[in-house]
């Protein structure tokens, strides 16, 4: 077996080790390279920044713990920004397995920013039906969620004063890891009830949402950990996403180098085989 053949059949545990080290070392010894802000993240930031105080900001936390590393920092950065701007935050989830996590993160950020449940924010929780919940909220928010996650009646909560349906929401953002998520919020929500919509998603999902962004169906998009790091930089409150960017840089480069090596040996093997045939 030639060197090229041996290299192409390298033990995958070596690749695992390389990726493991590329993730671990930058987390232990961060470099802190500057992060450039993309226009799609900036437009979400600018829109939130321009909202008047006490506007209704709806955050739909449509992911479960599997996507926590990418979407949790996005949610935290958005909530910090919304609370800092003194917006009324209405949070909910379309994913039943994300309910506990969504409640924890909202409570944690609200506590950190000194906000009061029922007055400054509310967590509506989860309701069955997927996209039907969005339509129902567009028709009447109180029919979709008669009570909040804690069991308190939603009607009469000061945070929801003047809010009857999705038409009264100033800005909504769905942080989605799949379906129902960002697309469902556009198709069943924004298109009919005419509110401004932004999106956040995992890195692998982002390319699929670019058509919605280009057509203005979404006014902005936070894609993956990189998007979260950009948002953290914009609000000048660096957190886990910025810390993770060095690790992501290193792993991306490790994969690029691995792919380059694999192609190098692949062509060398093809050349050897060609020579043997002639």
């Amino acid at each position: 077996m030639s060197l090229s053949e041996r290299m192409l059949k390298i033990d995958r545990r070596i690749i695992f080790l390389v990726i493991g080290l590329c993730t671990l070392l930058p987390l232990l010894y961060p470099v802190g390279l500057p992060i450039r802000i993309s226009p799609e993240v900036r437009s979400i930031y600018d829109y939130v920044e321009a909202l008047p105080e006490r506007s209704v900001f709806l955050l739909s936390i449509d992911f479960d713990p599997a996507s926590k590393p990418e979407l949790h920092p996005q949610a935290i950065a958005l909530l910090r920004h919304a609370f800092r701007k003194n917006l009324r935050v209405v949070a909910m989830t379309l994913w039943v397995s994300g309910t506990g996590m969504a409640d924890q993160l909202l409570t944690q950020v609200a506590h950190e920013m000194g906000k009061e449940n029922g007055k400054d924010y509310v967590f509506l929780g989860w309701s069955p039906g997927g996209p039907a919940v969005i339509i129902n909220m567009g028709q009447d928010l109180y029919t979709a969620f008669p009570s909040d996650y804690g069991g308190k009646a939603t009607k009469g909560l000061s945070v929801l004063e003047g809010v009857q349906s999705l038409k009264d929401v100033a800005y909504a953002i769905s942080l989605g890891a799949g379906n129902p998520g960002v697309e469902a919020w556009y198709v069943y929500g924004k298109d009919k009830y005419k509110f401004e919509l932004g999106g956040g998603c995992t890195g692998v999902m982002a390319p699929g949402l670019y058509p919605l962004l280009r057509s203005g169906q979404l006014n902005g998009l936070i894609g993956g950990l990189r998007g979260a790091a950009e948002y953290e930089s914009l609000i000048e409150q660096k957190g886990r996403a910025v810390a993770g960017m060095d690790a992501q840089s290193a792993t991306h480069f490790a994969i690029i180098v691995l792919v380059a090596i694999c192609n190098l040996f692949y062509f060398s093997l093809r050349q050897q085989q060609g020579r043997r045939h002639t």
């Binding site: 390298i10 995958r12 690749i15 695992f16 390389v18 493991g20 993730t23 390279l33 500057p34 992060i35 450039r36 479960d64 713990p65 599997a66 926590k68 590393p69 039943v96 397995s97 506990g100 996590m101 924890q104 309701s127 069955p128 039906g129 997927g130 039907a132 919940v133 339509i135 129902n136 028709q139 009447d140 029919t143 979709a144 009919k192 982002a206 390319p207 670019y210 058509p211 962004l213 280009r214 057509s215 993956g224 990189r226 960017m245 060095d246 992501q248 840089s249 792993t251 991306h252 480069f253 490790a254 994969i255 690029i256 691995l258 792919v259 090596i261 694999c262 192609n263 692949y266 062509f267």
Partner: protein, 216 residues
């Protein structure tokens, strides 16, 4: 019996399909009330679907355990996990915390479900790297184009890439915004047209596989 099994569901599908397709274009209050009430029903049916799903899962794994089929041990683990979680949830009234104290249900969620799901997702990075090494080869011109585009996007999406090759950020943005968006949009339009055609077939009873059972 045939009427109840075949004609009636087809009739309901046709009437509701046409009614709600038309409803979208009628902003009259009574039309809106109809939508409100229908979506409320949808939510209720969604709740029942969840119960149905869990029951079916229980049944499927009970059969596997009873027959001691290959991998029945995993079914026992699944059964134990589900029963324990449902019990913990019922005891805590479905709440992760009560009066600021974490319940058993909250403990299961925070210390079992969250790390397990996180681990599954994290493992992906290792397998993607291994798969990329084994299969991401420029075997043809098309594969070479894909490879170059992937490398540019991977570089442009991380600070180190932009630091080493400043133009990679703009190039990656162009690939995502122009090439990717146009192709995705074309696919999206095709899929949507297909969905419209399928909806018509279902509404008018041409496509009946959703009714289940044998062919008439």
């Amino acid at each position: 019996m045939i009427f109840l099994r075949r004609q009636l569901p087809l009739l309901i599908t046709m009437i509701t399909g046409l009614l709600f397709a038309a409803q979208y274009y009628v902003p009259h209050p009574s039309s809106e009330r109809l939508l409100t009430s229908a979506t409320k029903w949808l939510q209720i049916i969604g709740g029942f679907a969840l119960v149905l799903g869990v029951t079916s899962l229980f049944h499927q794994h009970a059969v596997k355990i009873r027959r001691q089929e290959a991998g029945w041990g995993y079914s026992v683990v699944l059964y134990a996990g589900m029963v324990a979680t449902i019990a913990a949830g019922a005891l805590a009234w479905g709440k992760e915390s009560l009066d600021g104290t974490m319940t058993g249900f909250g403990w299961v969620y925070t210390f079992m479900m969250v790390p397990l799901q996180g681990t599954m997702f994290a493992i992906l990075a290792f397998f993607i790297a291994s798969a990329a090494y084994r299969s991401f080869r420029a075997r043809s011109r098309e594969a070479a184009v894909l490879l170059v585009a992937a490398v540019i996007v991977m570089m442009g999406r991380v600070p180190l890439g932009e630091y080493l090759i400043p133009v990679s950020g703009d190039l990656s943005q162009w690939i995502l915004n122009v090439l990717n968006a146009s192709v995705r949009r074309a696919i999206l339009i095709g899929v949507s047209l297909g969905a419209i055609a399928l909806s018509f077939k279902i509404i008018f009873g041409v496509e009946r596989s959703y009714l289940g059972g044998s062919k008439e």
